[in-house]
């Protein structure tokens, strides 16, 4: 497990913890059943307040990523396929939005953009066949 907190990111600390652990779980870096440190041990290790760590864990638990065991620690729940799909859809939207913004700046039109996407899809299929 790896959590790197920025003091200057402008993102609340609990949010940073939540996002980093959430990403690690989605990518499989933290597998189902993996043990996470207790809220208090993590607060000690990151040198942050217990309330902050509690909030990060509570939100991860509410979103179905982890289960917490009072007085002990927490562990990673099996990935809910609907949840994963939702997270991935969000990633797709974010990526496409970034592409759209770049396209607008470069003056690239819809047809050309779709052409680029098609090209990428074909290249990936070609790679997969080989």
């Amino acid at each position: 497990m790896r959590v790197v907190l920025s003091n200057s990111a402008g993102v609340p600390l609990y949010q940073q913890i939540k996002e980093q652990l959430g990403t690690a779980i989605l990518t499989g870096e933290l597998a189902e059943g993996s043990a996470l440190p207790s809220v208090r041990a993590l607060a000690r290790d990151l040198r942050i307040s217990i309330i902050t760590t509690t909030r990060a864990y509570a939100e991860l638990a509410a979103e179905g990523f982890i289960a917490t065991v009072p007085g002990k620690g927490a562990y990673v729940l099996p990935l809910d396929s609907a949840l994963v799909r939702e997270q991935l859809l969000r990633q797709i939207e974010d990526g496409l939005q970034a592409a759209l913004t770049a396209a607008r700046q470069a003056g690239i039109r819809r047809d050309e953009l779709i052409g680029i996407l098609d090209g990428l899809i074909q290249a990936e299929q070609h790679d997969a066949v080989r």
Binding site: L13, S38, R40, A41, A43, R44, D45, R47, I48, S49, I50, I51, G71
Partner: protein
């Protein structure tokens, strides 16, 4: 008496020298968390701590400590570890003698733990108390408190006079202590940077009164810092400027978040740091008696609709 509170002060008042007194001091800490007590020198932090520990008589209110009403039974002292800004141990004692002397007073003294902590803290058991640096003396007192297995650690100004490395060690020691959810920490400080990260709760004290108490995020959300041109913060209606500072180049003040919307568009409104809150709340009102119940320097305008202090 509620057992999920490490301590609670309710309406505590006590007269101190001169005309200084604590008035209606009310705040509490749930078990398992760390609270910072912030205030300028003379705000009443040490007096508050002495009341909490039963070292000073109170003439109003009541105090609950680890489920007992202060002063409580003698055994209560075993559960509280106190680290003051000076050591009360005899200077000629070696650290081994410190143990031999203190041990009989405590039922749960952990001799092996004491030796282990001295090692962890880099303290030589043969050293004499008087030869310890400020940081080492503090660590010795922490080692004593942890060895008698205190459940509440109370520090009075632990970080003042400590170098950054030792202050960082202290933050680590507090973190280790709090891994046990039955443990709680209160520390008074005027160095807020230690609290920025590890503080769960914050209590602001000014001129013997509680200005505000709550979780750190509640305190941070309650105020905004306002920066503006030299004349922008004048004649405001319904906004109390706390600790306003004016120079020919500009002005700056702290305001309550709910009043920040009344400031208009020409000023810069930002989230404050704990340090900025402490500075503005603690600012001394120039050439005037502090208004009872008003935070810091109130606006100088008659139009300021102050609703009074703690809310």
């Amino acid at each position: 008496m509620s057992s999920d509170l490490a301590f609670a002060l309710r309406g505590v008042g006590t007269a101190v020298a001169g005309n200084f007194r604590l008035r209606d001091v009310t705040f509490e800490l749930p078990t398992g968390y760390v609270m910072g007590l912030i205030g300028a020198n003379g705000a009443g932090k040490t007096t508050t701590i002495r009341c909490l520990l039963g070292m000073r008589r109170i003439d109003a209110g009541e105090i609950e400590l680890l489920g007992h009403r202060v002063p409580g039974p003698v055994e209560l002292r075993q559960d509280v570890g106190v680290v003051l800004d000076h050591t009360c141990l005899v200077g000629d004692w070696r650290l081994t003698e410190v143990e031999r002397t203190l041990r009989p007073f405590y039922d749960r003294w952990d001799a092996a733990g004491y030796r282990r902590l001295l090692g962890e803290f880099g303290l030589d058991p043969r050293a004499r108390v008087k030869d310890l640096s400020r940081g080492m003396a503090m660590k010795l007192m922490i080692a004593v408190a942890l060895s008698h297995q205190a459940r509440l650690l109370v520090f009075d100004e632990p970080s003042s006079g400590l170098d950054p490395v030792t202050r960082d060690e202290l933050v680590g020691i507090i973190g280790d202590f709090l891994v046990d959810e039955g443990h709680s920490v209160l520390f008074s400080t005027h160095i807020t940077s230690d609290l920025d990260r590890i503080g769960d709760y914050v209590t602001l004290l000014h001129e013997g009164r509680i200005v505000r108490t709550g979780t750190k995020d509640e305190i941070l959300d309650a105020y905004r810092i306002v920066r503006a041109g030299p004349d922008d913060l004048r004649g405001l209606v319904g906004v109390q400027l706390i600790g306003a500072r004016r120079t020919p180049a500009g002005s700056q003040a702290l305001v309550r978040t709910e009043e920040a919307a009344l400031l208009g568009g020409d000023v810069l409104v930002e989230a404050p740091t704990l340090e900025e809150i402490a500075v503005h709340v603690g600012a001394r009102a120039p050439r005037r008696e502090p208004d009872p119940g008003v935070e810091g320097d109130p606006a100088r305008h008659a139009s300021s609709l102050s609703t009074g202090g703690a809310s």
